[in-house]
């Protein structure tokens, strides 16, 4: 219990610190390019740094006590080198410029990969670490290879803000940690969550036609909310604890599948979107052409290429 209370107090202290304006630099969204100048780089010793400070202190007092100048000189040399390492740590971040940020495609609930493009200033930064939502991700930069890939959390579909990133380094000796905050004012698109629990019910253009696509009865499966009532196998269900629905074979190749918003009734909006997303993904994986019909009757497709795939997913992601 004590541990929890302790952690709580640390979090409270961290929140309080975050309000101090000096420490909050780089936390407001900024337009790219963003350069880390000396005013927004912070540096403190790590635990190992404090340990080494203690070792240096013991060495200093030992050398002074034994009035041994050679030992004192050695202590001074080590101290100067370790203090100098602080500058190298700081230099890892200094003048780092984030030029551009590209989001790759990602779905909700998975981590969204981001590509960060830094300015090439001819310097190696092998120890750079970027933390998005406390997940430390190493991003070594070399002169001429100034791109880094990190992932950010994506827990809602649609356009979301790029979260604050902490860029830090402990090079060269791990005795100091320099860090800085960066919040690029940029939004990235997150595709909806994929729900692949239900096979698509494929319907022809005529809503009154009983079954389209494949007429062949394929089997029974458990009922999921959203399945059309007409597909329920009542007789079979009577012998089971759950409702069963009839499944039918896919449409014949060449004929586009139809993923219609309206066939998914009786379930909440987000689940509908997720299920449609799952179907689109499956169809794209199978390279089968499909048509997506949205809530407002807007039909996208038919096609089966990547552009169509992304158009569909973008449309789903942008649904209100």
């Amino acid at each position: 219990m004590d541990g929890v209370a302790h952690r709580g107090s640390i979090a409270a202290a961290a929140r309080a610190l975050n309000r101090i304006p000096v420490l909050a630099r780089g936390r407001k969204p900024e337009n790219l390019p963003v350069t880390l100048d000396r005013r927004r780089i912070y540096i403190v010793p790590t635990r190992a740094g404090f340990g080494f400070g203690l070792v240096l202190l013991v060495m200093l007092f030992g050398a002074l006590n034994y009035q041994n100048n050679a030992a004192l000189l050695l202590t001074c040399m080590l101290g100067a080198a370790l203090a100098g390492s602080m500058l190298l740590t700081w230099r890892e971040l200094h003048d780092l410029t984030l030029r551009a940020l590209h989001a790759e495609h990602g779905f909700c609930d998975a981590r969204l990969p981001l590509q960060l493009v830094f300015a090439d200033d001819g310097r190696n930064r092998p120890g750079l670490t970027i933390a998005v939502d406390d997940l430390e991700q190493p991003c070594p930069l070399r002169a001429g290879k100034e791109r880094a890939r990190v992932t950010m959390p994506a827990d809602a579909r649609g356009w979301i803000e790029v979260p604050r990133m902490r860029i830090s380094s402990t090079l060269p000796f791990g005795l100091f940690r320099a860090w800085s905050w960066m919040t690029p004012a940029q939004r990235v698109l997150v595709y909806p969550r994929i729900l692949a629990d239900v096979q698509p019910v494929v319907r022809s253009d005529d809503p009154n036609e009983r079954i389209a696509g494949g007429d062949e009865f394929a089997g029974l499966r458990e009922y999921h909310p959203g399945d059309p009532i007409r597909h329920v196998a009542w007789k079979a269900s009577a012998r089971h604890a759950h409702l069963l629905v009839r499944e039918f074979d896919r449409a014949a190749p060449g004929q586009p599948l139809r993923f219609d918003w309206r066939t998914l009734s009786g379930i909440d909006r987000e689940t509908r979107i997720s299920r449609l997303t799952g179907w689109v993904c499956d169809a794209y994986a199978a390279a089968h052409p499909w048509v997506l019909i949205l809530e407002d009757q807007r039909a996208i497709g038919p096609a089966n290429d990547a552009a169509h795939y992304h158009r569909c997913l973008t449309a789903l992601a942008e649904l209100p």
């Binding site: 034994y66 001074c76 101290g79 070594p140």
Partner: protein
């Protein structure tokens, strides 16, 4: 494994130790063992090195800790060894043995980055403690270099190093140690020294070196084969001639049949007899290396005692504190002197004639025989004695045979082989037996005159014993019986028989003597830099006596200035090198146009940029148009542009001067 749970692109916090840092850690620990090898038993160091190598090999095959029971067994073995060898676990040498063992133990259980960092910190401390045993320049530099593997280990524990990154691992540490050297030196100068130790007495229990307080046959032997530096002497004027380079240490009055001891007459309560100086005094400065004793050495015979020293009745100098650190003192001596020429105090006279009863009857008989023939002529007796050494078949040899109960008799009539202490002892005995007041003086004689740096280097092997006899009208006169010995056999144990002039020069000793200049500089400026020299440090700034507080302020200023300078250095941007001549020329043009307020935007292509520039500078638009065509052609139209056309483009860019529109 955790690795599968983590999202892609995630680093698993590298808590386990990679092979490269572990190997570097082993190298660091090996360096520490090497630094302490000189004062630990060789078998102990070797055993620790073997354990370390075994651990390295074991971890290469199978990265896991060594079993706990093995580690406990080793801990017990380390402590038991220290107690068995030294009798106590407390003290410097046993302490060094124990910490070295503990460091190797730490390596045995090092499996994480944290363990390795702790081991490196511990290793740095133990490296420093090696300097408590030896502060010489060479060793200090060696230990300083041993910091490099320690820093390389720290670097290798960090990410961003290629797998075979031995050299890159060493780079950061080397650069930082070199760049930090000026700051380290300033810190060394300014860190306030303690006037008294905080705990313990430093250097307690260290083997005393140098000349001891007594002289028994064979006592000086280990000294005469020791090439360690005893002291360095710089003279204000010309150095005294070689025949007068006798450095007085202590005077031994009492003979107990076997050994010569200071005796009651050397008590420092009595005042020294006045010195009749017949020539101008010699002024000089002595840098005495730590002997952990009280004796100070001065050219025969010192006129006054330096600060912190007392002069005994026999003109010996006695430091009130043991000489635990290098001691520098200025002093004046008279090389041509008269000591108590008129009369001798009866007590002193009695002490100078005292001989133990029942020892050495044949030597006594010999001396009494000389006295009978010579009558009152003391000088003739001295001549007789020296003649005996010269012509009596005596041999100078450091490997002197052991002597029996009547040591003087055995030496004079039997073995006839020995070195300075045998001759001084026998001569003084003969003089006393003949009724001439005599005493033994021990100190250093000779030394190596370094003509380049103009100082006299005196080694322990220059230790010497001679006699002083009192002659009416002349006072105490120095007689060196060893110089009378003609036949010299060099000791097989070492070429240090320097008390016969020029005898002990083996092959590389001259070089060592010449290179001693560097050691002298180190000893004077670094090792000998004490609280007193520090107090005078700020003299150039008008502060006569710097207090610890002032030094602290100066130190703080230095730290800030050093960090500021370092920060400035760190912010210097490396100039990004353009990849080819074409890009360089284009950048040059852009730079020139930027001064006219036409800066190329991030998203602006070259064609647009040229067009915009031409529109802004109508007078140069024709030239810019040509340049644009040429650049676009060279950059985009041909896969490998001909070099002569690039050269032409570069030339045209160089000669291009934008013309400002004159309105």
């Amino acid at each position: 494994m955790k690795r599968h749970d983590a999202p892609p692109g995630t680093r698993i916090v590298a808590s386990t130790l990679a092979p490269l840092p572990f190997t570097l850690l082993c190298v660091t620990v090996l360096c520490v063992l090497a630094a302490h090898a000189a004062h630990l038993p060789a078998w102990y160091t070797a055993a620790l090195a073997v354990v370390l190598a075994a651990r390295w090999w074991q971890r290469r095959r199978q990265p896991r800790r060594v079993d706990a029971w093995l580690r406990i067994a080793m801990l017990v073995a380390v402590l038991a060894t220290a107690i068995a060898v030294y009798g106590t676990p407390i003290g410097r040498a046993p302490g060094a043995a124990i910490v070295c063992g503990l460091l190797v133990l730490k390596v045995l259980e090092s499996e994480s980055v944290r363990d390795a960092r702790m081991a490196v910190g511990f290793a740095c401390f133990i490296l420093m403690s090696a300097l408590l045993f030896d502060q010489s320049l060479g060793f200090t530099v060696l230990v300083g270099l041993m910091l490099l593997p320690a820093l390389a280990t720290l670097r290798a524990l960090q990410p961003g190093l290629p797998d075979s990154g031995w050299l890159p691992a060493f780079k950061a540490g080397t650069v930082l140690l070199a760049a930090g050297l000026p700051a380290a030196l300033l810190g060394f100068l300014l860190i306030p020294r303690l006037s008294a130790p905080l705990w313990g007495a430093p250097d307690r229990g260290v083997a005393r070196t140098g000349i001891g307080d007594r002289m028994a046959p064979g006592d000086l032997h280990s000294l005469l084969t020791d090439n360690a530096v005893a002291m360095r002497v710089g003279f204000d004027g010309a150095p005294p001639p070689e025949s007068k380079r006798y450095f007085r240490g202590m005077v031994l009055w009492k003979f107990d049949g076997r050994a010569w001891l200071p005796g009651l007459a050397a008590r420092r309560s009595s005042r020294p007899v006045p010195i009749g100086v017949r020539d101008s005094a010699t002024h000089y400065e002595v840098t005495l290396l730590p002997s952990h004793r009280h004796w100070m050495f001065a050219l025969d015979v010192p006129i006054d005692s330096p600060e912190g020293a007392v002069m005994g009745p026999d003109h010996t100098l006695w430091s009130t504190k043991p000489i635990d650190q290098t001691l520098r003192y200025r002093i004046a001596s008279a090389t041509d002197y008269r000591l108590a020429p008129e009369s001798l105090d009866p007590h002193v006279r009695a002490a100078a004639l005292d001989l133990p009863a029942g020892f050495d009857p044949r030597a006594r008989a010999l001396a009494e025989g000389w006295r009978r023939t010579a009558g009152a002529n003391d000088a003739a007796i001295i001549r007789d004695a020296l003649d005996l050494f010269r012509a009596g078949g005596f041999v100078y040899d450091l490997d002197a045979p052991p002597l029996g109960r009547n040591s003087i008799d055995d030496f004079l009539f039997d073995t006839k082989t020995g070195f300075c202490e045998h001759y001084a002892s026998a001569f003084t005995f003969l003089m006393r037996a003949a009724g001439i007041p005599a005493r033994v003086v021990i100190g250093y004689q000779g030394g190596y005159w370094n003509d380049f740096a103009r100082y006299l280097l005196v080694r322990q092997s220059d230790a010497h014993a001679w006699s002083e006899v009192w002659l009416a009208g002349r006072g105490w006169v120095r007689v060196d019986p060893t110089a009378a010995v003609s036949r010299v056999i060099l000791a097989s144990t070492g070429g240090a028989a320097d008390d016969v002039a020029g005898a002990g020069s083996n092959g590389w000793m001259p070089w060592r003597n010449r290179l001693d200049v560097i050691n002298r500089w180190w000893g004077q400026t670094v090792v000998g830099f004490d609280a007193l020299s520090q107090a005078h440090l700020l003299r150039p700034f008008g502060i006569e006596h710097a207090t610890a507080q002032m030094l602290g302020v100066a130190l703080a200023i230095v730290v800030f200035v050093a960090l500021g300078l370092g920060a400035l250095l760190a912010t210097l941007r490396p100039r990004a090198k353009p990849r080819d001549a074409l890009t360089a020329a284009q950048l040059r043009l852009q730079h020139r146009l930027a001064r006219f307020g036409i800066a190329r935007g991030h998203a602006e292509g070259p064609r647009d940029f040229y067009a915009r520039s031409a529109a802004a500078l109508p007078d140069s638009s024709a030239a810019l148009g040509e340049l644009a065509t040429e650049y676009l052609h060279l950059r985009y139209a041909v896969p490998e542009p001909p070099p002569e056309r690039i050269r032409e483009f570069v030339r045209r860019v160089r000669h291009f001067r934008p013309r400002r529109v004159v309105k």
